[in-house]
Symmetry: C2
Subunit: 251 residues, 2 copies
DNA sequence: CGACTTTTTGAGTCTAGTCAAAACATGTGG
DNA sequence: CCACATGTTTTGACTAGACTCAAAAAGTCG
């Protein structure tokens, strides 16, 4: 059987592609703007500035003053928090179309996490002030923002639960499923996750070490649950992975 | 040395105390109403209904339809999520004056956690509909709600970090400090935490087992960091506890 | 083809979990 | 006020899952 080498196809992040047309599409799809009429979106678009970041560049740091809302136009961004001991905890990976930095636009003065470009990417930014003016003009947008933040809170609490009660194996299985749902691409019968993301990243998401992640992924490969290589994983058997996360947790 | 037996003094939860006067005080202190004029608070008060719950009674269950916002008037409430395997994860403990259930008023259809009376308590409730009408009338309230939810999101992410990178000892130290800040009462040179809360609860907060919690608390007692007994803990040396949480995490 | 990074594997150790039983507290009824 | 029933906390012995350190193997890129 021919083993597929690397199914990863690097995304093209051509700054030129951040055209007005594309920006309108991305902005218009944001959960809190999608109900607005086209003219409003066009106006709002004018308030966003774009900025390219290259792989591994930091978009902002934990502790930086939070005075902007960010939007991933192209590429992927990861949100991390680091511990005093240097260990990184990966809170979330955001594909194109997702916003970040919000949380702190309201209330918070400083960012509580660091945002890093997971790939070369193009980021749209809007200042707190401009965003607040939008909120003032469109009261319904605020409700949507609230919904969006609430949803993230629920997700975060779900992760708390998993970290508390799951074994490393279950946490990894669950992280893969979550990523597949959010960032996966169909590939034959499997779902490919190519962020790209390394064992490191997966370890930082699940509170495990790279070695442990590697061992467990190897086990998954043996059992035919996934295929994997450098910086990618393809899920071959979602069903069994899901069962893993459900079966008798620590007790 | 005389060991202090039980410093716990049960709170009196006298339903009669949920007087209009007291209700106004509690409601007026909510982060999202506190800026409103007294007349508005009085009007809002009329929309809340009170209900007493006794120890261990469930206020709502994970999965229940979320159609109300709750407010702890008297007593304490804990929010838990349980895993398929029956293990409980304690997400938060709320003292008088805190709200809950919100998250799902906006966007969510179902509660994502279960709320349980940690003591006998008196809960104020307002229907989604009435609350939304308040939001519509006072746009600034919505912004405050958003801030409040954002703050909880940041807290939740902090817990994710701790669960990922801290040892059980550090998580327990950190949980004690958090509880002390929120629910502690000064007692001589120490800070007493009497929710009441058991080793069970502390275990469920920190993702550890009761036995582990017990062993670690015993070590803390030996080292003079805390005093403890059935359902209470007094922190004697905050500084050293804080150092514990900072010192070399898993790496 | 190297040089470099990422992933895998192995051996040894330690933290925290499991199971079981004893010690303690607290509240009740005699 | 004591003895008992019940629920909570502590302790002990054992085990297992996950971490550490170290080194080999496999991919990737210029």
């Amino acid at each position: 059987m021919v083993r597929l080498k690397s199914p990863v196809r690097p995304e093209w992040v051509d700054p030129a592609i951040c055209s007005t047309e594309y920006r309108l599409k991305i902005i218009g799809r944001l959960p809190f703007f999608q109900h607005l009429p086209a003219e409003a979106i066009i106006k709002i678009n004018g308030l966003f500035h774009d900025h390219d970041f290259s792989l591994d560049e930091r978009i902002y740091l934990e502790g930086d003053q939070a005075d902007r809302l960010y939007l991933v136009a192209m590429g992927k961004v990861k949100l991390v928090r680091s511990t005093s001991s240097g260990r990184e905890v990966l809170l979330d990976i955001l594909p194109g179309g997702e916003y970040f930095g919000t949380l702190t636009v309201f209330g918070g003065r400083a960012h509580t996490e660091t945002a890093i470009a997971q790939t070369d990417c193009c980021i749209l930014q809007i200042s707190s002030g401009d965003f607040e003016r939008i909120l003032a003009k469109h009261p319904d947008v605020m409700r949507k923002v609230l919904e969006a933040v609430s949803k993230r809170l629920a997700e975060s609490q779900e992760i708390v639960r998993q970290l508390s009660a799951y074994t490393a194996e279950q946490r990894i299985a669950s992280a893969l499923l979550r990523l597949a749902g959010k960032l996966g691409e169909a590939r034959g019968q499997g779902v490919l996750i190519q962020l790209p993301f390394s064992r490191q990243d997966l370890a930082a998401m699940t509170g495990a070490t790279t070695e442990t992640v590697s061992r467990i992924i190897s086990r998954f490969v043996e059992d035919g649950l996934v295929k994997s290589g450098r910086k990618w994983v393809t899920i071959m058997d979602m069903k069994r992975l899901e069962e893993l996360t459900k079966k008798g947790a620590v007790n």
